[in-house]
């Protein structure tokens, strides 16, 4: 998000789910779309069926590879080198959109100079992608307009994730693929309401609508609305909170609907931190590996038991409606927080229904200004939707970028923080299965889904399996510098030689014990997609 905020001025998906089918070319990089965003995956495949060119850039032989015109199998963590090389080819071939660059963008000359020292030989060396494939992909992307780029956590979860995103933004600006149907830079958000949680200001540096907590005018605005001076220092990001707890700085934690013991990198560290808290209150619909460590556990309700809204990956705010009564004595999460606040004698938490909360959101959040439950009865609205007459926005940056001019960012390739060596010779990369979801708190309760994917499998290339004398179904111990987990083995050429893949759905094989907590310095995203491991037969 930080990458797009720097270059475009807004971190959200520029175009829409349906709009993908209008693309003449799709570049899917770091997104296993058919497994993790299945319905958008339908759109991509349907587009290909109707003549759209598809370039897949992924170290793994994902489902989309079968539909791709070109498959770039880059080494994990080499995306910046790959994207810069593609950019270089487009410029050298004169396939860039000079008019768009001149009218809509800035910093192009500096950017262009920075490409002088890029050569395809070193790109081939770093990425493992043959140079003719890089050239072919560059030409295909540049010559088939409009072109859309889809990406997901395979791009962002790196110690240089922000650079990856900016490299994508550079490529789109270079070819004028912004602000029109079928084009764009489209980060596919992983969780149902991760877009909404960001929009609402569940972030350490911004209030709702990305209004900076450090901006005096914003502080003034919220003081007038809430009657309280906002704290002005940027807060801690989730990954930093655990360090602060272990350093004794943070002593109390209120956690809602998350399971960091399974989802966060270096899980042993997270567990140790949570056990160190003086007071830890967790709110969830199930007991899970994280809530087990709490002093108080509050039962929230599932989405089916409450009213509200979710904002999907394409910025579409849609209704969540109460379909059944809360289970047992559980309570809607908004109500629980309001009740705690009221008991702490706070004003401004006496809401009787979520529609009233939305009214306050609309009042204080320019991009949500025109959104109300009354309007949502007629269907979802895509932000920005600033006024009650505004129809919502399908495509961002049509006339100008959110920040004015799109900013080209010179970049330098940086390798992943941890590379294979003699002790840990394999790269581990992680992701999700279609049949499970995140830490499995919900999906593993579904008997049918467990039949499709019921336990962790380390996906390993046949060459590596042969060298390690492994066969399908063997149990192995996967060891990194941070810990070890055991899991079954699945031999598949979906993994390239030297790279193994695991999901993080299963508490019995908590993959994130292995992963590297090193952070991207800007977005503070951990490098979940690349760490070094070795595999031992159990």
């Amino acid at each position: 998000m930080a990458g797009l905020a720097t270059t475009f001025g807004s971190g959200a998906m520029t175009n829409s789910n349906n709009d993908i089918t209008d693309a003449a070319c799709i570049l899917a990089i770091g997104s296993n779309t058919t497994e993790t965003h299945p319905v958008i995956g339908f759109n991509v495949k349907k587009a290909v069926r109707h003549g759209t060119k598809l370039i897949v850039a992924n170290p793994r032989r994902i489902g989309l590879v079968r539909f791709a015109d070109i498959w770039l199998r880059q080494k994990p963590g080499s995306d910046v080198a790959l994207l810069m090389a593609i950019t270089k080819v487009i410029l050298d071939d004169g396939l860039h959109d000079s008019a768009f660059i001149q009218q809509r963008c800035e910093n192009f000359d500096t950017f262009k100079q920075s490409l002088d020292n890029i050569d395809l030989a070193s790109a081939e060396n770093i990425t493992g992608v043959p140079r003719n494939q890089i050239i072919e992909a560059a030409r295909m992307y540049a010559r088939n307009s409009p072109a859309s780029i889809l990406y997901a956590m395979g791009i962002t979860q790196h110690s240089h994730g922000t650079d990856n995103v900016m490299a994508i933004a550079n490529l789109a600006m270079l070819t004028g693929n912004i602000g029109k149907p079928g084009s764009g830079v489209n980060p596919l958000r992983g969780q149902n309401n991760v877009q909404g949680a960001c929009d609402m200001g569940s972030l350490p540096d911004v209030c709702s609508g990305y209004q900076k907590v450090t901006d005096p005018a914003i502080k003034e605005k919220f003081k007038a609305a809430w009657g309280i001076d906002l704290p002005s220092d940027t807060g801690l990001a989730i990954t930093e909170m655990f360090d602060a707890i272990l350093q004794g700085k943070i002593k109390a934690l209120y956690l809602i609907g998350e399971n960091p013991v399974l989802s966060d990198p270096d899980a042993s560290h997270v567990r140790e931190a949570l056990s160190n808290l003086e007071f830890f209150v967790a709110q969830d619909i199930f007991m899970n590996e994280t809530a087990e460590l709490a002093h108080v556990v509050l039962p929230g309700t599932s989405f089916a038991e409450k009213d509200g809204t979710f904002t999907n990956t394409e910025r579409r705010v849609q209704r969540v409606r109460k379909a059944i009564e809360p289970t047992g004595n559980s309570r809607a999460d908004w109500l629980i927080t309001c009740q705690i606040a009221q008991r702490m004698k706070a004003k401004g938490f006496d809401f009787e229904h979520p529609s009233q909360i939305m009214d306050e959101i609309a009042e204080l959040t320019p991009s949500y200004g025109g959104i109300s439950y009354k309007r949502l009865e007629r269907g979802g609205l895509q932000w920005p939707c600033p006024t009650t007459e505004h129809p919502g926005t399908q495509i961002l940056h049509t006339q100008q970028f959110a920040r004015g001019k799109g900013r080209f960012m010179p970049l330098e390739y940086k390798p992943p923080a941890e590379l294979p060596d003699d002790d840990y010779p394999l790269i581990l990369t992680t992701g999700r299965s279609l049949f499970q979801y995140h830490t499995g708190t919900m999906s593993r309760k579904v008997a049918g889904l467990n039949l499709f994917k019921g336990e962790e499998e380390v996906e390993i290339n046949p060459q590596d399996a042969e060298r390690l004398a492994l066969k399908d179904g063997d149990r192995v111990r996967v060891v990194s510098r941070r810990g070890h987990v055991t899991a079954g083995v699945k031999i598949t050429d979906a993994s390239s030689p030297g790279v193994v893949f695991m999901t993080f759905h299963f508490a019995e094989s908590p993959t994130n014990i292995l992963t590297n907590p090193v952070l991207d310095p800007v977005s503070r995203i951990p490098e979940l997609k690349v760490c070094s491991v070795r595999i031992e037969k159990v």
Binding site: H37, N192, I250, A252, G300, A323, S330, W334, I340, S443
Partner: protein, 342 residues
């Protein structure tokens, strides 16, 4: 806009529309068993045949595009006679257990047969019992009810582009099957159930086939696509899920988790139903007053830089808004984040 005449009535239609679409838009019923708004025209079931002045034979309305001045008759004796023959052939190998069939009153074959006034079987039953593919945990493929309309195979090709099912064999041996004629569970089927939704008869049916008393439109809680869905409710339980066509996020489509992965977790016996408080190092059930009192008292006891809040990408916008407002105004800290980065 084009003008045409259907059954003596003037009807307007957009260029490129089929006769079937133009008639449906004008509220004129033409029976069909293979047409579906999401699928390419197929012309397979032959039930939508009509007469068009100046055209030979009886073209299928679903594959004939409209032209200006076209004169169409959908209800001539010749047309209905031919349609009745199609139904006679279809039901010659279709079970007649309608009253106890899971699709009773929701079966399109039943609907079309009733429209055409079919009251008895004219041809002898030709086929013996066929095996049922029960391998998938969410739905059943029962070849005995299949009328080979190919909506399922076309859905798997055109809508989801998975291509797990196809028609194999020829003539009486034709059937919907997978590569190598393996059970669905051993195929590349992703269990999205889009074929099940479009099956006009009881060939592809969900295993849980209770009819809801009411439906509520809401948004899926799994990934970020934001598919809207109708939850079917009966006795305060979710018993079915249907994709909503009202949302442009998904246009009616769902994946396996959205369609089949909701009720089991919402109604799971391990759901937390009471607040829990740690006493003697064990989490024990407590009442809300007791739990909220402890939370309030404890949280009040720390300075603002000693507290942090982790909100949730699973919770609603309203909940996230309230939580960050709580962190910033009540606890006095910007130490609030959620799993956006994970």
């Amino acid at each position: 806009m084009l003008k045409l005449i259907i059954n003596g009535r003037q009807v307007t239609a957009k260029n490129g529309m089929t006769v079937l679409q133009a008639a449906q838009e004008a509220g004129i019923y033409i029976p069909t068993l293979c047409a579906d708004p999401d699928l390419e025209p197929h012309g397979g079931c032959r039930l939508c045949i009509v007469e068009v002045e100046g055209m030979r034979d009886m073209p299928t309305a679903c594959t004939t595009t409209v032209s200006d001045g076209m004169v169409v008759n959908t209800e001539t004796e010749a047309v209905n006679k031919a349609r009745r023959t199609v139904i006679d052939l279809l039901i010659s190998d279709h079970p007649m257990d309608c009253l106890t069939c899971v699709k009773n009153q929701r079966c399109e074959l039943q609907e079309v047969a009733a429209y055409l006034g079919i009251t008895e079987r004219h041809l002898p039953m030709t086929i013996t019992e066929r095996p049922v593919d029960d391998s998938n945990p969410f739905f059943t493929l029962d070849h005995n009810y299949c009328i080979l309309c190919q909506r399922c195979t076309r859905t798997c090709d055109e809508v989801t582009v998975v291509n797990a099912v196809e028609i194999i064999n020829r003539g009486y041996d034709s059937k919907v099957s997978t590569f190598g004629d393996k059970p669905l569970m051993e195929s590349i089927c992703k269990s999205c159930g889009e074929c099940v939704v479009r099956c006009p008869v009881a060939a592809l049916v969900p295993k849980n086939n209770i009819i809801p008393t009411s439906e509520v439109e809401t948004t899926c809680p799994y990934c970020g696509v934001g598919c809207m869905m109708h939850l079917g409710i009966r006795d305060d339980k979710i018993i079915s899920v249907k994709g909503s066509r009202n949302s442009q996020a998904n246009n009616g489509r769902l994946c396996v988790k959205g369609r089949y992965g909701i009720a089991d977790f919402v109604h799971h016996p391990q759901r937390l139903t009471e607040p829990l408080i740690r006493k003697n190092n064990v989490l024990q059930e407590a009442n809300w007053d007791e739990a909220l009192d402890i939370v309030t008292e404890k949280l009040s006891g720390y300075s603002c830089d000693q507290i942090a809040v982790i909100a949730s990408a699973k919770c609603t916008n309203e909940e996230n808004y309230i939580v960050q407002k709580f962190a910033r105004t009540v606890l006095g800290t910007n130490n609030i984040d959620h799993c956006a980065r994970l």
